[in-house]
């Protein structure tokens, strides 16, 4: 396996962006067969290379300052606001509209048609005509038309209970309890964050020309960060207007613990399949960072104390993580017990031995998958500058493409060697085919159906990768081994998609999810957690196998703390130890 990875041809962009031709270590500890299964993906935690962390480091480094350009809200918090943030010499503005929403209209589904708030991230500082244009278009969301000046559009609903309770308490001069804050953790929940050219906004290809926005999802994360700032300011505004005399600001520690909720549904799952090179790069970065850390023979005293500190912090974070989902609840309980043992076992003395991180890595292999992944995330956290340069390699500028001159035997040999996970699935069984992915005509909502009890499977989206690989393999068997792919595809044009994917996997080993995505055992929520962990989300709270709620930016520095150069030490935050 090691030899295979050493032969990997890295994407040009990765090589160009960073001078890593000699230092990029391809001897990964974990092969794709280990990390690309749904079970493993569904156990991931945020790391310091998650997109939110990258953004916040950038904002701190630039001493970015959030300025309130406009705040035109009535006493109930309805109106509009504009905030501008600078990154280096550039300015970005969040334009926010807040309006009354009847409770009966409040749903997090894509099929919603109205929201408490709507937002746009604007390139520069908007003029009045931009605000007026967006006042008409933004509340329409998917039905609106936008311009290249907009980089992201989004909307959010209030967590009605927390918003109401906290505003009332602050108006009476009372701080909310930590338990109440931990129970929900946000005043608002985004239900969609659209980027990359959607509805006429600027394309990702153009956005990433700005070096600061080159890592994935930076403008989307900036939008969410500014929405968090808006939500806290809105709570203060409403509370103050309830009672100007007794009003108090929310305690700073609690403010920092307020994140932005996010409801994530099935849309994220097809994204992972449609962007194989991007996903590969994310994993290459994570595994490279891990390898760098595991190769450390000795830790400094500072690093040793950091490991112990973070083990303790994670312990409290796990205590504050709650969900009603039965599967996740059991996993959290198990994880808490396992982490307790780790907390007792790991000492400064043990960390003074040779290759201590490798020891932590190997020890937790004997625990649950989630426990092992938590330790991986912790190991990366102490990496700091040793691994942060890898953030430049997360992006992908390359599309999947065909190599028409490849010989048939090269493709078949590779399939037999690296797609055994797909070839061994028995698609004659109903359980291996039971699901199909589709897009509903109702607001184009991505959905998952049962092939044997629902209509529409003839309109299935191409997420049945394993099945397609089997069909390709069968047709390849009857074809002369020394002919080339161009000749094969002339006879079998319908295999073009899967041939390109397999060829991509030859140099992008982490490009395939190695599970049957149409099988009965497929839990989409595992794919969602994987992607959300790369965003930097925590407190995964599955509501079914098809959607989850998470918290974004919980523990992140507040906007006014950015120019002070405060560090970005907010991995798995806990209110209990502040």
């Amino acid at each position: 396996m090691v030899e295979f990875f050493q032969k990997i041809l890295l994407e040009d962009s990765i090589m160009n962006l960073l001078d890593i031709k000699k230092s990029f270590d391809l001897k990964f500890r974990r092969p794709p067969s280990e990390v690309m299964t749904l079970e493993k993906m569904g156990s991931c935690f945020p790391t310091r290379l998650s997109f939110m962390r990258i953004l916040i480091r950038k904002l701190i480094k630039n001493k970015s300052y959030v300025k309130t350009q406009e705040w035109q809200m009535d006493n109930k918090g309805f109106g509009h606001a504009v905030f501008t943030i600078n990154i280096d010499k550039k300015h970005y503005s969040l334009i926010a509209f807040s309006n009354y929403l009847d409770d009966s209209m409040r749903t997090d589904r894509v099929i919603a048609s109205a929201w408490d708030t709507s937002f746009a991230l604007f390139d520069g500082i908007p003029e009045n005509k931009d605000i007026e244009r967006l006042r008409k278009q933004l509340p329409l969301q998917e039905a609106g038309r936008f311009s290249k000046k907009e980089l992201v559009i989004s909307r959010a609903n209030k967590s009605v209970r927390l918003f109401k309770t906290v505003t009332e308490m602050l108006s009476k001069g009372v701080q909310p309890s930590k338990n109440l804050i931990n129970e929900i953790g946000y005043f608002m929940r985004t239900t969609a964050v659209y980027g990359n050219g959607k509805f006429g906004i600027r394309d990702r290809k153009e956005v990433k020309l700005d070096a600061y926005m080159s890592p994935p999802f930076q403008v989307e994360m900036l939008t969410v960060y500014l929405i968090r700032h808006f939500s806290i300011k809105l709570v203060h505004h409403v509370a103050k207007n309830l009672n100007k005399t007794n009003f108090v600001f929310l305690d700073k520690n609690i403010q920092r613990h307020i994140g932005i909720g996010n409801s994530t549904g099935l849309g994220m799952a097809p994204f992972l399949v449609k962007h194989p090179i991007l996903i590969n790069n994310w994993l290459m970065v994570k595994e490279s960072a891990l390898t760098r850390m595991l190769d450390k023979e000795k830790l400094t005293d500072f690093q040793k104390s950091r490991v112990l500190e973070l083990i303790g912090r994670a312990f409290y974070h796990l205590k504050e993580w709650s969900t009603d989902d039965k599967r996740q609840k059991n996993r959290i309980n198990n994880l808490r017990n396992e982490w307790k043992k780790i907390k007792i076992e790991i000492s400064n003395k043990l960390l003074s031995k040779s290759y201590p991180l490798n020891y932590l890595f190997n020890t937790t292999r004997n625990y649950s998958t989630e426990c092992h992944e938590l330790m991986v995330s912790l190991i990366l956290e102490i990496g700091g500058k040793d691994i942060d340069d890898l953030e430049h390699c997360l992006e992908s500028s390359k599309d999947v493409s065909l190599k028409p001159d490849m010989k048939i035997f090269e493709l078949t040999d590779f399939i037999n060697k690296n797609y055994d996970w797909a070839l061994k699935i028995n698609f004659d069984l109903e359980e291996a085919n039971s699901k199909f992915w589709y897009v509903s005509e109702e607001k184009l909502e991505p959905r998952l159906g049962n092939r044997f009890s629902e209509n529409g499977s003839e309109l299935e989206q191409p997420l049945d990768i394993a099945k397609k690989v089997q069909a390709l393999n069968n047709d390849l068997k009857d074809f002369s081994k020394n002919l080339c792919i161009a000749e094969f595809l002339m006879r079998y044009p319908t295999h073009r998609y899967i041939v390109k994917r397999v060829q991509t996997n030859m140099w992008a080993p982490y490009s395939e999810i190695q599970s049957n995505l149409i099988g009965n055992n497929c839990l989409p929520v595992d794919m969602l957690r994987f992607k959300l962990s790369f965003f930097g989300a925590s407190k995964f709270d599955p509501k079914s196998d098809k959607w989850t709620r998470v918290n974004l930016f919980q523990g992140a520095p507040l906007a006014e703390e950015l120019p002070l150069g405060k560090n970005d030490d907010w991995w798995l935050p806990s209110l209990s130890i502040n």
């Binding site: 290809k205 191409p462 161009a486 319908t494 079914s544």
Partner: protein, 204 residues
């Protein structure tokens, strides 16, 4: 209407699938069309015409020495195959008795970064691609004519240049949208209640 690159690419992709074209082909066609539109060439209207007249004939091909000859072909099928062959360097010349869209063939060459990709009609140059640069002869108007592809270096005075925005005819957009809607599954209570996440009411 003015649209983004990604928006157009997704529309072409979905309208291709809606026209029962394989997803692997749609990936390339959508990229090629969006890229051509970025250069101000009216490829969306052209691909719509192609989608409306589809037929694939197997064995529509003759090989004579180092030349490969297709009969009357469609860019979506024979055009893509011809380009694949060009990229293998197995043949010196690739001939189409007729091709429904030489423009989109140029777009496909462009997205595949082909070198010295020369498309001719009799003796006149229709288009030329060299890696990320291309030239399209705007005087050429005759689709469904005999064309040939050769790998020959050619000195172009001025390559096509990118425009500041993509502007698509409203009717073309509407027609493509109609095709793209064919991939959508009709609404049902079962689908609405169990097909996706989140609740219908989220007051908490």
């Amino acid at each position: 209407m003015i649209c983004s690159y990604t928006e157009l690419k997704n529309l072409i992709y979905n309208s291709g699938i809606g026209s029962n074209i394989d997803v692997g082909i749609c990936e390339e066609i959508s990229e090629a069309v969006a890229k051509l539109e970025l250069y101000g060439l009216n490829a969306s209207a052209e691909i719509y015409r192609c989608f409306k007249k589809l037929s694939y004939k197997k064995d529509n091909i003759k090989i004579i020495d180092k030349s490969i000859q297709f009969g009357k072909g469609k860019v979506i099928f024979e055009g893509i195959t011809g380009l694949d062959y060009f990229r293998t360097n197995l043949y010196d010349e690739i001939i189409f008795e007729e091709l429904d869209s030489p423009l989109i063939l140029i777009g496909l060459g462009l997205i595949n970064n082909v070198e010295n990709f020369k498309v001719l009609n009799s003796t006149s140059l229709i288009g030329y691609v060299d890696k990320k640069k291309f030239f399209w002869n705007e005087n050429f108007t005759g689709n469904n004519v005999k064309i040939s592809i050769k790998k020959e270096k050619f000195k172009i005075q001025q390559f096509n240049s990118v425009k500041s925005k993509i502007k698509i005819d409203k009717n073309v957009w509407k027609n493509l949208e109609l095709l793209s809607r064919k991939i959508l599954v009709p609404e049902s209570t079962l689908s609405r209640d169990f097909g996706a996440g989140a609740n219908i009411n989220d007051n908490d």
